[in-house]
């Protein structure tokens, strides 16, 4: 049977990509959980028309 990624999640150490509130990353880091913070900004500088195009073009 193929590996089931969801069951793997429950058995492997967490490695988290945190997009948004930095506090969550800080608390995970304090628990020695692997975490990387994304310095996120709205796509296309928040321009909804461009963001929509980007979504369709699959960037």
């Amino acid at each position: 049977m193929a590996k089931d990624p969801l069951r793997d999640l429950l058995h492997e150490p967490l490695s988290v990509i945190n997009v948004g509130l930095e506090g969550f990353a800080g608390e995970l880091a304090a628990q020695k959980v692997d975490v990387i913070q994304v310095d996120w900004t709205p796509p296309a500088g928040g321009d909804p028309e461009l963001a929509d195009l980007l979504a369709k073009l699959g960037s």
């Binding site: 296309a44 963001a51 073009l57 960037s59």
Partner: protein
């Protein structure tokens, strides 16, 4: 979108499999058959006389005198204003040129052949620092040096190159990266490697010791000699990447001192332009940003292939020189540029970044999405013609070019 990913895959494949070799030096008229008298190729996207910046105009006047199309600079200026010269971008003729980027019939052009695809690209020989035509210089000293390059040095360099069947550039650049060059602001190592590779054939093909000594002293005394070679190399690598339907990879970035322009593989020959920005950087003693000309030149072709500002991590010394921050932060520039590129070059790697490959294949989608414009390392020209370089710095490609390109690309892909 699957077809975009596949087209981009092909674009990257072409970029990394390119095999550029510096093979020869030949007169421009021979290299570019369409090049005629009174035709002036310039850096950047198309621009006419009335919109040209000061240094570009100065260079046009100088080159017109040099080619014998005008009696003196004043005569050249009035002829230019009267529309007697035919202006075209270098990029439309397989060529590139630094700063003002003047290319005309009689100039010697270095030839880089991409052995994988058989195409050739051309760039004039670097004139050295100080008062030079690429910064708009046009006095007697400048024109005299151009004459020497045309009559003596160019032919000698061509003989030397033919004698060794050319100098492969990919491996030379790979070594240069490990020696602290990023191939835009710093070419010390690559220029030295070039001197090392060419000294024996220079000697072997010369029967005039005095001329030989002068040629080698010129080559050995010019830290930026390799820049023009890197530019022709960049053009030779990117031209086979043009016109891949569905590819969102940038194939050229350049500026004419007025506009910044980009071309994208999947949108044909269209230039997407926006007003060029002012570099931010450090100035030589006695100059300030008030003296600076806006960003200029075809040299951004080296960023297009992942060098220059994209390879800042290889050249910590440059980060300080261009005022980009601490040397230890140089790698951050490279890592940031990897956010807008599709791949890492497997052969051009940066030892101090654990052999990270230079960021390769600028994707307009990623540029627009992240809001991260390409970082360009650049020299800063004085706004008055003929003064020369007054500083060095970093400039960002204008985001508007990429937004326009994205709209056109989406349209071409049938997405609205």
């Amino acid at each position: 979108m699957q077809r975009i990913e596949e087209a981009n895959q092909q674009a990257i494949e072409r970029m990394v499999t390119g095999d550029p070799v510096l093979v020869d030096v030949i007169p421009a008229a021979e290299a570019i058959s369409e090049l005629k008298e009174r035709m002036i190729l310039h850096a950047g996207p198309p621009v006419e006389w009335d919109r040209m910046c000061g240094p570009m105009r100065g260079a046009v006047m100088g080159i017109a005198v040099f080619e014998g199309w005008a009696d003196d600079l004043a005569d050249a200026e009035s002829k230019a204003a009267a529309g007697e010269f035919d202006f075209h971008p270098n990029h439309h003729f397989d060529a590139v040129g630094p700063m003002t980027g003047m290319t005309t019939v009689s100039q010697p052009l270095m030839v880089v052949e991409n052995k994988t695809f058989g195409n050739r690209a051309y760039c004039a020989i670097n004139e050295g620092l100080g008062k030079v035509m690429r910064f708009g210089g046009n006095d007697g000293e400048v024109l005299e040096r151009l004459g020497w390059l045309r009559d003596d040095f160019g032919p000698a360099l061509g003989r030397a190159l033919r004698h060794v069947n050319g100098v492969p550039l990919k491996s030379l650049v790979a070594r240069g990266l490990t020696m602290g060059d990023e191939m835009h602001q710093r070419n010390v190592a690559c220029s030295g490697l070039t001197l090392r590779a060419l000294s024996p054939p220079f000697v072997a093909t010369s029967d005039d010791n005095e001329a030989l000594a002068k040629a080698l002293a010129f080559l050995g005394g010019n830290d930026q000699f390799f820049l023009n070679i890197a530019m022709a190399m960049g053009k030779s690598i990117m031209d086979p990447v043009r016109d891949i339907e569905g590819a969102s990879v940038v194939t050229a970035m350049c500026r004419n001192g007025t506009d910044f322009g980009i071309r994208v593989s999947g949108t044909g020959d269209t230039w997407f332009t926006a007003p060029v920005e002012m570099p931010e950087g450090l100035y030589f003693p006695g100059f300030t940003e008030r003296d600076a000309n806006p960003d200029m030149g075809d040299s951004t072709i080296v960023e297009t292939i992942g060098l220059g500002g994209f390879a800042m991590g290889a050249a910590p010394a440059v980060a300080g020189f261009v005022g980009a921050g601490a040397a230890s932060e140089a790698g951050n520039y490279t890592r940031t540029m990897s956010e807008i590129t599709l791949a890492e070059n497997p052969e051009w790697t940066i030892p101090s970044m654990d052999y990270l490959g230079v960021p390769t294949g600028i994707d307009i989608r990623l540029v627009v999405e992240t809001g991260l414009a390409p970082t360009i390392n650049t020299g800063i020209a004085h706004r008055e013609p003929g003064v020369g370089q007054v500083g060095a710095g970093v400039v960002r490609a204008p985001m508007a070019c990429f937004e326009q390109a994205l709209l056109a690309f989406a349209d071409r892909m049938g997405v609205s």
